[in-house]
């Protein structure tokens, strides 16, 4: 008797625990070709992060309704959870979103396992060879198109003109000059701010830090004899990492565990507090330079009140400036190409509606809307929509030499495992680069091949 109750109790304990480790539902994808009419299909679009402005979302909803009579629901997923969400939702015909934005670097992992529907037949209609080819490549498997470019972004430098001037340094024209300049600024620290950074770059921020690796001819991985290999130990990669480590030692006071989130907090100079003795402590401003995606300029500037009385940032070109990170070869340094791809879930039951939406997204009007909002249009015919202000120029220039992360089948796995964050963090802590590179090569290589 006693034993039975004890067993029941243990069983109950088991029930409580297991709810914490439920596995993903395994459902076989089953696209239903019988649902061939787009008319009245209600579909769901997943957008990643807040990059697509509200006006564009409204446009898509209205146009989709006009074209099909159905409703388009847009759900925003955070970049951090995207791989996990796609992994669990895309295979499930009952719950999959119909159209999905996916990071360009994450695309190969999902296209290689068959998560997306083949849209090769639409390729020419949606823009064909006018579409950004490096992004088209990461969406291709065996010559078939599964995902296409949605928009491209790029990264460039935002700097404090006043501080650079006070420190007596010019805007650099080579990478070596940049590396020296930011150290000089950190040493001179003209405003005498505690923990001041000449260039603020977080230790885990590999998406920006990778530029130094690329600029020195290094890379993250290479494809040889049918196998992907992690190349952190490559001499050129190590050279770039060494420069990055030197910057982190001498020019950056960012924590070694900081990521690439909201670096503009440190370059803006408001949020100052007045102390009891009348002196002013600037709690925010402590970096002369940051590296960020182009749309960060909306968050940089002086704090002013707009017509509705809310505080907004207003760009002040006397105080702030932008430049493209230079390489040592006269070209811009290759930065990590931001942006994303878009595709149709293979498990979606509403293929026709989803295809209608793609037509709207690749229409001339929507491509221009993307450009007007500072997002690089997928179709090169419409890049002029970006305008010709300093941000558009910096975006186009830095994108001209940008590079994608390896198109390995397991790349999203590498990102999802957070191993690159760890590796870069340890490098920034002053670790032995060669030893760390060998250690993480051994971890990352098997992941790359999707085993």
């Amino acid at each position: 008797m006693k034993r039975t109750i004890a067993m029941a109790a243990l069983l109950a304990v088991g029930a409580l625990t297991l709810s914490a480790c439920g596995g993903p539902a395994a459902t076989t994808p089953a696209a239903d070709p019988s649902a061939a009419e787009p008319a009245g299909q209600n579909i769901t679009l997943w957008l990643a992060g807040g990059d697509t402005p509200d006006a564009l979302r409204e446009y898509l909803k209205t146009e989709y309704n006009k074209a099909t009579g159905g409703t388009l629901t847009i759900e925003e997923q955070s970049w951090g959870d995207l791989v996990a969400k796609l992994t669990t939702s895309l295979p499930d015909a009952a719950n999959t979103p119909d159209v999905v934005e996916v990071g360009n670097t994450q695309s190969p992992t999902f296209t290689n396992v068959g998560a997306f529907a083949d849209i090769s037949d639409m390729y020419a209609e949606l823009g064909g060879d006018k579409l950004l080819q490096s992004f088209v490549e990461v969406g291709k498997v065996d010559g078939k198109n599964y995902t296409l470019p949605y928009y491209f972004g790029s990264r460039y430098m935002f700097y404090r003109k006043d501080v650079w001037k006070a420190a007596g340094v010019e805007v650099p024209t080579t990478l070596d000059e940049f590396n020296k300049a930011v150290v000089t600024i950190a040493e001179k620290n003209p405003n005498n701010i505690k923990d001041f950074s000449g260039f603020f770059i977080g230790g885990q921020d590999w998406r920006n830090g990778i530029s130094w690796v690329f600029a020195n001819g290094g890379d993250l991985a290479k494809y040889e004899n049918g196998q992907w290999t992690s190349t952190l130990s490559d001499p050129n990669t190590i050279k770039g990492l060494q420069q990055l480590q030197d910057i982190q030692k001498a020019a950056s006071n960012a924590p070694s565990t900081a990521k690439d989130e909201s670096p503009w907090l440190y370059i803006n100079d408001s949020d100052a507090v007045t102390n009891d003795d009348g002196t002013v402590t600037e709690t925010s401003f402590n970096a002369a330079t940051i590296m960020a995606p182009g749309w960060a300029h909306w968050s940089i500037g002086d704090l002013v009140k707009n017509d509705e009385g809310t505080e907004v940032r207003q760009w002040n070109s006397d105080k702030f400036g932008v430049f493209v990170l230079p390489g040592n070869d006269g070209k811009p340094a290759p930065v990590f190409a931001g942006g994303s791809n878009i595709g149709i879930s293979a498990a979606s039951q509403k293929q026709e509606g989803a295809r209608e939406l793609l037509k709207i997204i690749f229409s001339a009007e929507y491509q221009q809307l993307l450009g007007q909002n500072g997002l690089g249009p997928a179709n090169s015919d419409y890049t002029s929509a970006l305008g010709d202000d300093e941000f558009a120029k910096a975006l186009t220039e830095s994108a001209s030499n940008s590079k994608l992360t390896p198109a390995a089948p397991g790349w999203a796995t590498v990102e999802g495992s957070m191993k690159l964050e760890e590796f870069f963090s340890k490098v920034s802590d002053g670790g032995d680069i060669a030893a760390l590179a060998a250690e993480y090569d051994a971890i990352i290589t098997p992941m790359l091949n999707g085993s």
Binding site: T4, G14, A15, C21, P29, V113
Partner: protein, 294 residues
């Protein structure tokens, strides 16, 4: 001859049927997956390859996993004990305090208990932010210069912050449960002991504790189970900027292995292991609970 009693079994049946029905599929799937090579390809429909105990062998020979297990057990025991101690202190305070003070305390604790985890975590992350967090500012104002100190960088300090948050979130439940237990202690007995010359500490140790022992055991057991599978708090702290490998606990490690890195077979094997570990950790409590009842 001993007569077999049917009634107790008949009464247990519905509960066991519900448990089995709700558990059979997930546990069965979990166990089966743990015996296969199950990655992203399998998630998208390809048949998994049966590999027997290979995943388990990999689990037990991986020193990183043993580190995770060791840290998780230590974290859950420390947190459970600290939570119960603080909860008991607050329960005694509620028992002794005047009505108004007790009410204020109860409302405060209910608010903390009812706060959604993600909302509470967001506030905690602001408080501990290295750059503009209130904690650093207050400590600096108090004369300890903590400007720019990153609490999440060092694993020990990371676990300290995690413990503060987890304990803060679980204390109300423990305090209320123990308080309910305390109201069942007959005042006559305590009075009689006082007349006989027992000090406050003696009354607490030899009368109150034995009488509320069942409640204490239950809340301690629940805390151990809850703290062993802690996930949200650790995940959000890690995302705010911490070294993943050295701060992973079982929950985040399994999540990152399975959903993050697409190795569901290994993650399932780990999960089955956690199930067994939870049963082992709680078995002594369950047994002594049984003894009390008989």
């Amino acid at each position: 001859m001993k007569r077999i009693q049917i009634t107790p079994y008949a009464l247990l049946t519905p509960a066991i049927v519900v448990l089995l029905a709700a558990l059979a599929y997930p546990v069965g799937w979990q166990f089966w997956t743990s015996l296969t090579k199950y990655g992203l390809k399998q998630q998208f429909g390809q048949p998994p390859e049966f590999v027997g105990a290979e995943n388990y062998a990999a689990v037990f020979t991986n020193p990183e996993i043993w580190g995770v297990i060791g840290r998780s057990v230590a974290f859950c025991l420390v947190n459970a004990v600290v939570t119960v101690l603080i909860g008991m202190g607050l329960a005694l305070l509620m028992n002794a305090a005047a009505k108004a003070a007790r009410l204020a305390l109860q409302v405060a604790m209910l608010l903390a208990w009812a706060m959604p985890v993600v909302a509470a975590m967001t506030v905690w992350l602001w408080l501990f932010n290295w750059h503009h967090g209130v904690i650093n500012w207050l400590l600096t104002q108090a004369g300890v210069d903590m400007t720019g100190h990153n609490w999440l960088e060092d694993p020990l300090s990371f676990y300290f912050v995690a413990t503060v948050i987890v304990v803060w979130m679980s204390v109300p439940f423990v305090a209320f449960s123990i308080f309910a237990g305390l109201t069942q202690v007959a005042p006559e007995i305590l009075e009689a002991a006082e007349v006989d010359g027992a000090t406050g500490w003696q009354r607490f140790r030899t009368i109150i504790i034995p009488m509320i022992r069942p409640v204490l055991m239950i809340v301690l057991l629940l805390q151990v189970i809850w703290d062993l599978r802690v996930f949200t708090q650790i995940q959000m702290l890690q995302d705010a900027g911490a070294d993943y490998t050295s701060t992973n606990l079982l929950g985040t490690f399994i999540y990152r292995t399975g959903v993050g890195a697409g190795d569901f077979g290994m993650a399932a094997a780990m999960s089955v292991f956690v199930l067994v570990l939870t049963m082992l950790l709680s078995a002594p409590y369950v047994r002594s609970l049984m003894k009390e009842e008989n």
